[in-house]
């Protein structure tokens, strides 16, 4: 009888199986999972500070480099009468590998429904695509990476000339991807970058996935397949970002505040302004007053108008490097 029940668990639809698993996790295994979450958060505190600082510096340099491009993009969209593109929200999380038990390509994530994770959401790392979320609990989720046998992604070259479907392969024990179903008359060069195409709606367009190693198999048939070296190796799948829904508030967020490079008075004023906006109350964002106080309005449209024209007037110290029109203030 027990063998029959076990076999039933294998063959019942995954919805019922996952429902049972969710029930066990929410009851019997709840303390264990809570402990696991605490242990992971604790281990993060002891990460290499130098590496984190290097990553932060790289990100800061990238952010500063993109500031002008973003403003230009907003101006051009205004000129064309296009709405502002809503950037996606990101949910940071850690990946926990599940030992043994035939779980290759399957992992646990330390963020769940309570943090805004949704089933099917894309998971990315700094280098590119990791996988997608399969199942979501209250505070943890489960996902599959590109090594999992069920992983499929619609992909293309960066110039959008060649499209295909990515699926996992194992070549001499090494996990790779294969770009299948590409047209025979186009030949891809080695190291060509492959990104997600956005077709099918599973992964957003443009996420880097891997580079072409070479052709897989012969040239039989009307299609070519290519082996792809993924950009995110299994050992690099530690800290990930889960893509959330498009986030309106990010569009108007003053990123200089996030980096601690804006004067505190300005930060407080912008904070009050954004609070008013969040509450649905029209904010008293008088550009002239803002300029006189040595601040910039938080909204992107206002920033476009004010940043190039108005230099800060009431800045306490003018020496030191200037960033985004404001003197740099060290973080506390």
């Amino acid at each position: 009888m027990f063998f029959g029940l076990a076999l039933l668990l294998i063959f019942i639809p995954s919805t019922y199986r996952e429902g049972l698993a969710r029930g066990v996790r929410a009851t019997v295994l709840r303390p264990v999972l809570a402990l696991q979450r605490g242990a992971v958060e604790q281990s993060v505190l002891f990460e290499d500070a130098a590496q984190l600082r290097a990553e932060r510096d790289s990100l800061a340099a990238f952010l500063v480099g993109q500031a002008g491009v973003a403003a230009e993009n907003r101006q051009l969209r205004d000129l064309l009468g296009l709405r502002e593109r809503l950037p996606r929200s990101f949910i940071p999380a850690e990946v926990i590998r599940i030992p043994g038990r035939g779980s290759e390509g399957f992992f646990q994530i330390t963020a769940g429904e309570a943090q805004g994770v949704a089933p099917g959401a894309s998971i990315v790392a700094a280098q590119g695509l990791v996988g997608r979320v399969r199942e979501v609990d209250e505070n943890v989720s489960f996902g599959i990476d590109w090594m999992h046998t069920e992983f499929r992604a619609s992909a293309m070259t960066v110039d959008a000339e060649v499209y295909g479907i990515l699926e996992p392969r194992r070549v001499d024990g090494e996990p790779l991807l294969a770009l299948t179903g590409t047209p025979r008359h186009v030949e891809l060069e080695s190291n060509a970058l492959i990104v997600s195409s956005g077709h099918g709606g599973v992964f957003p367009r443009g996420i880097p996935i891997g580079t072409v190693i070479g052709q897989e198999g012969g040239e039989e048939g009307w299609q070519r397949n290519y082996l792809i070296q993924p950009l995110v190796s299994p050992s690099e799948m530690t800290y990930v970002l889960i893509l959330g829904d498009p986030e309106r508030s990010l569009g108007g967020r003053d990123l200089a505040l996030a980096w601690g490079i804006r004067p505190r008075e300005a930060a407080e004023e912008v904070s009050v302004e954004s609070d008013a906006l969040d509450a649905g109350v029209p904010a008293a964002s008088d550009p002239a007053a803002s300029s006189a106080a040595g601040t910039q309005p938080a909204g992107p449209a206002a920033a476009e108008q004010e940043v190039p024209d108005e230099a800060p007037v009431d800045t306490p110290e003018e020496e030191g490097p200037a960033l985004l029109g404001e003197p740099v203030q060290p973080q506390e």
Binding site: F3, I12, R101, F106
Partner: protein, 157 residues
């Protein structure tokens, strides 16, 4: 044999199960910690009727498989089989023989890995290299941990 087993033994088995989840999942030691769940079932099965041992295997399998939802059935099947076989092994050798007991734990853990690999289809994807190279080492580790645990239990029982 059942006459010698008191509540202390079942506390010991429960402790092994709790330790398994605590070390492998809670504290994140993963493969660094031995598979105490299989060891607990193999030791407990020898004190149970075959049907009860299979039932215990099913319950532990559901518990274990809940961490890998798509493999839930595979874990349940593997541990049910292991419980049943473990209960039958009582007729083959005595627990007092530590060498045979170690061999029993080793073979049990290896059998568990084999059933999991077959049930999840992993053996067809990754090949049998894990089963032939890594699995015996993890089985050896589990057997050693089981023997040490049992020795400690007997010292205090």
């Amino acid at each position: 044999m059942n006459g010698r087993i008191g509540w202390g033994f079942w506390v010991f088995i429960a402790l092994l199960i709790v330790l398994h989840f605590l070390l492998r999942v809670g504290l994140g030691y993963e493969q660094l910690a031995p598979d105490l769940l299989v060891v607990a079932l193999l030791l407990a099965a020898r004190q149970l009727a075959a049907g009860h041992a299979a039932g215990a295997g099913l319950a532990l399998g559901i518990l274990d498989g809940a961490l890998v939802p798509f493999a839930l059935g595979a874990s349940a099947l593997a541990l049910s089989v292991l419980g049943f076989v473990g209960a039958r092994s009582r007729e083959l050798f005595s627990e007092d023989n530590y060498f045979l007991l170690a061999l029993y734990l080793f073979a049990g853990k290896w059998l568990f890995d084999a059933v999991i690999f077959l049930a999840t289809g992993e053996v067809f994807r990754a090949g049998a290299s894990y089963l032939l190279l890594v699995s015996p080492l993890t089985a050896l580790y589990a057997a050693a941990a089981g023997l040490i645990g049992l020795t400690i239990y007997r010292a205090f029982a």
